[in-house]
């Protein structure tokens, strides 16, 4: 079954499901996978960290997948409960585009900040980042096949790409 994960949402599931995220611009799609049990999680992250850019953050829990820090800790916690060892988890990510040209040099744009935040947190948590397709100025769709761990990125007017 294909499960579509919307903006600010996240899910952990097992094979043979396919997790899909569509219409990702500055958002980052992060996938975590463990190949022994064929389980994984996908988060459709909107912002680099909680309360950094959201003017008024939501009550605890409700928006945990919106932010890179809370989304990653939430996915890791769910995988841990399923008995997955952290050292066996492999991460991949896509997205973080800047759809419109920025006129400000100082402002890195939400896309770039999202990418950097996810990279930093993964490094800190000791999760191996195995593949990525990030940046640029185009949107992306992601399909995450839990039976094989394959992550396929599609984009308008571009060839499909496995990361």
């Amino acid at each position: 079954m294909i499960i579509t994960v919307g903006m600010g949402e996240g899910i952990v599931a097992a094979a043979p499901h396919i997790l899909r995220a569509i219409g990702c611009g500055s958002c980052v799609i992060l996938t975590l996978y463990e190949c022994e049990r064929k389980v994984g999680g996908l988060a459709h992250i909107m912002l680099p960290r909680k309360a950094a850019l959201a003017r008024r953050p939501a009550p605890e829990g409700e928006d945990k997948y919106c932010y890179a820090d809370t989304a990653i800790s939430s996915l890791l916690e769910q995988l841990r409960k399923m008995g997955v060892l952290r050292k066996n988890i492999v991460a991949r990510m896509a997205g973080g585009a800047g759809m419109f040209p920025s006129y400000s040099v100082a402002d890195a744009g939400i896309g770039r900040q999202n990418i950097e935040s996810v990279r930093d947190i993964l490094r800190r948590e000791g999760i191996h980042l195995a593949g990525w397709d990030t940046g640029g100025n185009h949107g992306r769709n992601v399909e995450f096949h839990l039976d094989s761990g394959r992550v396929v990125v599609t984009a308008f007017g571009r060839a499909d790409r496995e990361i």
Binding site: M7, G8, I22, G23, C24, L53, M99, F156
Partner: protein
């Protein structure tokens, strides 16, 4: 979230009325620019969580040319003129043949659509200004081609994620394209979408109420 941030049904009706004035003006401008007939729907005004925005806009999932402008002045927000990607060349050629003439010949389709979006935003905001005495301006247009959801996610991320009071004003125009060979007509739907900031939606409604005859 607090209730005072939300607009009541009556206030949403006011907003719809107000946007109808702008849409009428913009439709006239578009009709003249393209030299064709136009069918105009009543504007749709949605109040919903930012995360659900892309699911209500009529161009969901399709590649589009999206001309983005910022609204500044007494009200702040973002404006998008949205054309299905598969209609961009046809609309650009129509504009070249009609009012705009030689001035646009040889420019890229997206530049032509940027110019159309610019003029539509001008006429839309002018109508609102004339009725409500609000000073509204728009910034220089920028066009991108992609799936609409990807284009607006940065905007949505920068808004209040918790609130279910995100306002989307969706104007739909059907451009009637008459065929030369057969006596049949086709329609191409284009969209003019406004995202006022939550505070600005309130002040738009207030100024409309004040401008209405007693």
């Amino acid at each position: 979230m607090s209730n005072e941030e939300r607009l009541s049904d009556k206030e949403l009706d006011y907003l719809r009325e107000m946007m109808n004035i702008g849409a009428g003006n913009a439709a006239t401008a578009l009709s003249q620019m393209l030299g064709c007939r136009m069918k105009l729907d009543i504007p749709r005004v949605h109040q919903l969580p930012a995360k659900r925005v892309s699911s209500v806009v009529g161009v969901n999932g399709l590649p589009v040319v999206c001309v983005k402008m910022s609204m500044v002045g007494d009200c702040k927000g973002e404006i998008f003129f949205v054309v299905p990607e598969n209609a961009r060349t046809e609309l650009a050629r129509m504009a070249e043949r009609a009012l705009l003439g030689d001035a646009l010949r040889g420019t890229a389709d997206t530049s032509t659509l940027e110019e159309i979006g610019n003029i539509m935003a001008g006429s839309y905001l002018t109508a609102i200004h004339d009725f409500c005495k609000l000073n509204l301006y728009h910034s220089v247009p920028v066009a991108v081609i992609d799936v609409f959801q990807s284009i607006i996610d940065e905007l949505l991320a920068s808004f209040n994620l918790r609130a279910d009071s995100f306002i989307v004003i969706e104007n739909e125009f059907a451009i009637v394209i008459e065929s030369e060979v057969a006596a049949e007509e086709r329609q191409t739907r284009v969209f003019f979408i406004l995202f006022p900031s939550v505070e600005s939606a309130k002040s738009l409604v207030e100024s409309f109420k004040n401008a209405m005859p007693e």
